[in-house]
Symmetry: C2
Amino acid sequence: MVKRTSFEGDACPIARSLEAIGDWWSLLIIREALFGLRRFGEFQTKLGMAKNILTVRLRALVDHGILATAPASDGSAYQEYVLTPKGRGTFPILVALRQWSEEFDDRPAEIATILVDRKNGRPVRKLELRAENGRLLSQADTTVKPRPAPRRRSA
Amino acid sequence: MVKRTSFEGDACPIARSLEAIGDWWSLLIIREALFGLRRFGEFQTKLGMAKNILTVRLRALVDHGILATAPASDGSAYQEYVLTPKGRGTFPILVALRQWSEEFDDRPAEIATILVDRKNGRPVRKLELRAENGRLLSQADTTVKPRPAPRRRSA
DNA sequence: GGCAATTGGTTTTATTATGCAACCACACAG
DNA sequence: CTGTGTGGTTGCATAATAAAACCAATTGCC
């Protein structure tokens, strides 16, 4: 098999995420979905992508439980694609990607939008990683450990 | 040309990030680099990827200013790939991906590692997005705005 | 210094994914 | 029941990915 390697059985949680959303379009589809888009045609024209690719991506996102198909909404017989909680849970990932661009992009002038607090329109802070006790952590302050005792039960 | 669409000129900061690190391997390479890997062979055996692909990816990451080639380190004549500040800046993205897996993966039992505070070995908190005044924000509390005043110049 | 193994790739070839365009079925408006 | 828009599918061309073979320079070892 010369398939594109799959990370499905991988033990690394990052690889597992990438398995689901680590391709060119999925995160952009999710981004638009968070923005409120729901219909096939909306995604297609907004993102300017080929329709067959969009079909494949939407199906994969549904299979992964990130999107769900809802029967209607405006009364028409067509279906819509709406984010599941798992899909909405990608928000921090999108924020992290955005902030990385904002901080390190070579031509930041080309970035068109900023993320703001809806209440007052002021920019948000950078994402913060904190210890249990609230202490701010940088990469150097962290390590990975083997996951502890798989809590006797189904999951 | 039927090239894979590039997001290079895109105004969306998320698309811009994906342009640099939005492929299957780049983030995993960066992850290993954050772990301390530096040599071609280390990446190749640890990630189990084809060498030609690794070559292409490493070059792309260097071109994007995420990795830099350093002349030596252990005295040998070979070169090493080390993270730049821009590369280390991807840490929150990796954390976000990890936490998304931890929270939403269908088979969480298969996840082998957890991210902990180096000081006491306790798990870290979830990434927090805060307003200027420190208020915790969820996705619904945010919007995007056009970027303000592009500071008079060419752009 | 001589020789084999290792490192860090390149080349070749096969397979898969992506992208465009054309096509098509169904819903809906009249 | 005819025309139009929505939501796809199908073919074909091209690009990316993968595995394996190959190769040059660097090391390790004697």
